[in-house]
């Protein structure tokens, strides 16, 4: 779901950069120091996930995992995704540097909005139900990103490209189901072994939050 360089008119990628830059700047001020290692791990996962590709029909589609990032990081997802996409563009040639802003917007906006909402919801649910919510969100978030890319294709400067892109996007919707399964599995595992990673407020009926050691 990366948009390549040279596909969108200049105003589109300039707008993408403006929105993405603003979001990252706001979030970088807001982030708590103790969340940084967690975000870095997530960014590494997100960065590497784009190498896992699943053949669907004639083309292969790679994982985005932005649903998982959004569920774990909440608003911090925008930094995770920006870092991951920058490195993907530089090292793997996914997307491109001019399209980076637009790609950050496409992938991070659903992750931040839907992810934060579902996080709050999950905090009040028993683990099994929370995992189900995570699965649905994990599928819905990349699907929403695909739809955003579809929206951008309306202003693509290259009509032939836009047509190809649309066909490709519809073909890659099944990957969202796979992402949903991955997301549900990861979240339910984390809820069992390390709920602190999720950083959820202590949910109802969950008393196994990390014990706080009294500092001296």
């Amino acid at each position: 779901m990366h948009i390549s360089d040279g596909m969108l008119p200049a105003y589109a990628w300039a707008a993408g950069y403006a929105v993405a830059g603003l979001a990252v700047a706001v979030e970088a001020r807001r982030v708590r120091d103790r969340d940084v290692p967690r975000l870095a791990l997530l960014a590494s996962t997100f960065f590497a996930a784009s190498l896992i590709h699943v053949p669907i029909g004639p083309v292969s589609v790679h994982l985005a995992l932005n649903g998982l990032v959004g569920l774990i990081a909440g608003p911090g997802a925008v930094m995770v995704i920006a870092a991951g996409l920058l490195l993907q563009a530089l090292l793997f040639g996914h997307g491109g540097l001019t399209a980076l802003g637009v790609n950050i917007v496409n992938i991070a906006v659903p992750a931040v909005l839907l992810g934060s909402l579902c996080r709050m919801w999950m905090a009040s649910l028993p683990p099994a139900r929370a995992a189900l919510v995570a699965g649905v969100a994990g599928a819905a978030i990349p699907a929403a990103s695909l739809m955003m890319v579809l929206g951008w294709s309306a202003v693509a400067s290259d009509p032939a490209y836009a047509a190809g892109l649309r066909a490709f996007l519809l073909g890659s919707l099944p990957i969202c189901l796979i992402e949903g399964v991955i997301c549900a599995g990861t979240i339910s595992y984390l809820l069992k072994v390390q709920p602190a990673v999720l950083g959820l407020a202590r949910g109802a009926g969950r008393s196994d939050a990390v014990p706080v050691r009294a500092g001296s």
């Binding site: 990366h2 190498l51 896992i52 590709h53 699943v54 292969s60 793997f92 996914h94 190809g164 490709f168």
Partner: protein
């Protein structure tokens, strides 16, 4: 889930001068798979389209240039696009190679490497060669003309790039992210140390 043949989604386009007014265009995804049956567009410097064609099953296309003006070759498939620029010098070499070896050359004939024109040979007569190209290459888009597997080009437009390794950029990226996080932690710690020192004073 872990499929090793990853790194799809970046389309690479390479151009190799095959001699005899032929440039081999080769398009492949980042994982090395050919970009088969994809739209090829050749653009002039000013962006006007010179010709449109498709790659064959091996992601290849034989371009028969007639002039020496730099060309941009774009390959687009399923929302992925790659391009390469063939510079005037390379085109001049290929066109000059054809001129030097004038006459009906059987397809796939090897140009003796020694007889290959040096780079010093200037693109002498653009107009004449263009005319001849028009005559010789009835259809400039020779789709599916399988490039001879054994015949390496006399003039390599660029060195044949290997399928890029995926492991190195992967490790580099993860290392960069973790290094950034480590730097952040160092900053946090140094701030805390500073605070403690002040408190003690």
């Amino acid at each position: 889930m872990l499929c090793p043949s990853a790194l799809a989604h970046s389309v690479h386009v390479d151009a190799f001068a095959e001699g005899e007014r032929t440039i081999l265009i080769e398009a492949y995804y980042g994982d090395g798979k050919p970009v088969a049956d994809a739209a090829v567009r050749v653009l002039a410097e000013d962006g006007t389209q010179v010709l449109a064609a498709r790659t064959d099953a091996q992601g290849r296309y034989l371009l028969q240039p007639s002039g020496t003006e730099p060309l941009t070759v774009e390959v687009v498939q399923a929302g992925h696009k790659g391009h390469t620029v063939i510079d005037g010098e390379t085109l001049a070499k290929v066109v000059a190679a054809a001129d030097a070896n004038e006459g009906p050359t059987p397809e796939g004939a090897q140009v003796p490497p020694s007889g290959g024109p040096g780079p010093a040979e200037s693109p002498s007569s653009d107009d004449a060669s263009a005319e001849r190209a028009g005559a010789a290459a009835s259809a400039p888009a020779a789709i599916g003309k399988a490039p001879g597997p054994g015949g390496p080009g006399t003039v390599a437009a660029r060195t044949r790039t290997q399928t890029p390794s995926r492991i190195v950029p992967l490790i580099a990226g993860v290392a960069l992210i973790l290094a950034a996080a480590a730097l952040w932690q160092v900053r946090v710690l140094s701030r805390r140390v500073e605070q403690l020192r002040k408190e003690r004073l």
